[in-house]
Symmetry: C2
C-alpha cells in the first residue's frame, strides 16, 4: 500500500468532515480480512457510533432486469435535489463467486457518482453472505457519521441476501415488473412478506392493462399477510425510473412510513431488534476470529485440512482435533 | 418424553439393522437443540461414519410449482423397483419461519412413505439455514449407515439453500418448466451454474413447441458456463412425473455421471472438498455452543440482550461485554 497511513484521529476527523476519500479508505479497512487491520477498524466504528443512526435506511431489491440501478439513480437524483445526502451501498451475494460487483460498474449510476452529495460503494467481495452483510451494516454507521442522511442498500436476486438487508434497513422496497406473465414467480414468498412497499417499475414499457392487473395481483398477495405491529399497510405503487413518473411519490411514501413509525415507536423498536440480531452476529464472528488467530490452530490447520482433502480423516475428526488444540492452548 | 430411552449401542444396532423407528429417533436427537442431547448425538454420528459414504446423494431443486414432490415420488418408485433403498430428506428454509415443513405433509409422497425400502424425513425446523443444513448433512450419514444407497435431498425455492444442498450432494438436479414465458426468470444464475442436469418437468402439460424451445434455451444458458473439472457436460432433459415419461432416463443419466466421475476421481475429490467445508462449519458451530454454554455468559446474556432491545447500549458494546465475560472465565 503506497498511500500514507492514517491514524485513528485522521480517520474520524475525515469521516466527520464528510471526506469521501477517507470514508472510502475506512470502509476498505472494515472490509479487510487482515487481522492487523481489525483493531483500527473496530475503533473507527466505535467512534462513529455516537454520530450514527440519523438516517433513513432503505433496502431496495428485485430480480435482475427489474431496473434497480436506473431506479436508484432516478430516486437518488430526486432526493439530492431536495437537499439530502445519499449513500448507496450494495449486498451482492453473486459477487462472492465472481469477485465482481453489481455496483462495481459505476457508469451505471453516472449522475449519482458525479454528484457531490452522493456516495456510491460497491458490494464487499469475497467471504460468506454473513460476512458481506456484517461489513455493509458497519459501513452504514460510517456513512451516517459522515453526514449521509439517506442510505440505499441495494441487493440483487431473490434469495437469502434480502433477509440480511431486511435486518439492517428501516424500509424495504421491492421492485417488480408488470406483465411478466406469472407475476409472482421468481420472487420468494418470504421476500414479498418483508416488503413495506412494492413498486411496479418500467410502466412506460407495459400496457395500462398489464400495469393495473399487476397492481391488483400484488395488492391481493400482500393482503394474505397478517398486518404487522408497525401499523403500516404495505402499498403497491407504480413508476418509471426512465420517465421519473411515480418516483417522487415513492419517496413521499417512504417519508410517510418513517413519520408513522417514529410516532408510534415502531421505528426505534425495529432498530433495537436489529441491534439484537447484530449483537449475536458480532459474537459469532469474534469467536471465529479468536479461533483462527490461535497459534496452535494456525500451526496445524493446513495440515489437518489437507488430510480431509485427501480423504484421510472425516470432517468431524478434523474439526475436533483443531478444537481440542484451541481449547487446550488457552 | 414417555418413550424409553435408548443407549448408544441400542441406537447403533438399530440403525445398522435398518430399523426406521430407531433411525428416526436418532435423527430427532441430532435435530435437538438441547445441549444434554449433544454428546449422544455426536457419538451416534461418529459410530455411523465408518458405515457411511456408500450412497449416491442427489440434490433436487426448483421453484415452487415445478412439481418436486411428484417428481421425487415418480423417480423414487422407479429406483425402488430396481431394488434400491431410498431416503428422502429436505432442506426447507421457509420452514424456519413457519415451523412447518414441505415434506411434513407426507401424503404428498404417499406411495414412497408406505414403501418398506423408503425413508422420508421432513426438513428440520427452526434455527438458521446453516443449522438446518448441518443437521441434514449429519442425517445423510445415519441414513447411509442404515443401508440407504440412494439419498434425495429436496430443497425449495431459489435462494441460498441450494448452495447448502450443493455442498452435500454428488449430483444436483434442477427442475424447470417449459413455456413459463421468461424461462430464466425466477432461478438464480448461481443455481443454474450448480446444476449437473436440468429436467424440464410437466411436459404433458406443455406444447411440443414450448418444450423444445425450453430445451434449446436451457442448453444455450448452460453453455455459457465454463466446463468444470468433472469432465461432465450438464444435460438438459425432459420428463413428466405424472406419466413417468423420461423418468428412467434421468436416473440413467445420474448413474452415468457417477460412473464417469468415479472413474476420473472427481467423485471422491468433490466429497473431500465438501468435507473440508463441513469441517469449518463444525468448528464454527462448536465455538458458538461452547460460548452459550458458558455459565458467566448465560448469567448475563438475557440482561444484556434486554439493554440492546431497550436501545441502552449498541450491539457492539453488548457483544464485547459478553465476549469479555467468556474469555475471562476460562
Amino acid at each position: 500500500n503506497r498511500r500514507s497511513s492514517l491514524s485513528l484521529d485522521d480517520y474520524i476527523a475525515g469521516i466527520k468532515n464528510g471526506d469521501r476519500t477517507i470514508l472510502s479508505r475506512a470502509i476498505t479497512l472494515i472490509e479487510s480480512t487482515k487481522s492487523s487491520h481489525r483493531e483500527l477498524a473496530q475503533n473507527i466504528i466505535e467512534q462513529c457510533l455516537p454520530e450514527a443512526g440519523n438516517s433513513i435506511r432503505v433496502g431496495i431489491t428485485g430480480v435482475p432486469g427489474v431496473g434497480k440501478s436506473t431506479f436508484i439513480e432516478s430516486m437518488g437524483n430526486h432526493i439530492l435535489e431536495e437537499g439530502h445526502n445519499l449513500a448507496v451501498l450494495a449486498i451482492d451475494p453473486s459477487s462472492m463467486r465472481s469477485r465482481g460487483s453489481i455496483l462495481g460498474d459505476k457508469t451505471r449510476m453516472e449522475t449519482l457518482a458525479n454528484h457531490g452529495n452522493a456516495f456510491i460503494r460497491p458490494s464487499p467481495t469475497g467471504g460468506s453472505l454473513g460476512g458481506v452483510a456484517r461489513k455493509t451494516r458497519e459501513t452504514i454507521y460510517l456513512c451516517e457519521a459522515a453526514g449521509y442522511d439517506t442510505i440505499f442498500i441495494e441487493t440483487v436476486g431473490v434469495g437469502q441476501s434480502e433477509t440480511a438487508v431486511h435486518s439492517m434497513v428501516d424500509f424495504f422496497l421491492l421492485l417488480m415488473l408488470a406483465g411478466a406473465g406469472d407475476e409472482l414467480q421468481g420472487i420468494k414468498r418470504g421476500v414479498m412478506e418483508m416488503a413495506d412497499a412494492i413498486a411496479i417499475n418500467k410502466i412506460d414499457e407495459a400496457s395500462k392493462k398489464a400495469v393495473s392487473q399487476a397492481v391488483r395481483e400484488y395488492k391481493n398477495a400482500l393482503h394474505l399477510y397478517p398486518e404487522d405491529q408497525s401499523g403500516w399497510r404495505p402499498e403497491v405503487t407504480t413508476c418509471s425510473a426512465v420517465t421519473e413518473k411515480g418516483i417522487p411519490e415513492i419517496w413521499t411514501l417512504i417519508q410517510e412510513y418513517v413519520r408513522l413509525t417514529k410516532d408510534n415507536g415502531y421505528f426505534q423498536d425495529k432498530r433495537n431488534r436489529q441491534a439484537k440480531h447484530w449483537m449475536y452476529d458480532t459474537i459469532s464472528n469474534r469467536l471465529r476470529e479468536h479461533f483462527y488467530e490461535n497459534k496452535a490452530v494456525q500451526k496445524q490447520k493446513d495440515q489437518i485440512e489437507q488430510q480431509v482433502l485427501n480423504g484421510e480423516i472425516s470432517s468431524f475428526k478434523a474439526a475436533h482435533q483443531l478444537l481440542e488444540l484451541y481449547f487446550k492452548s488457552k
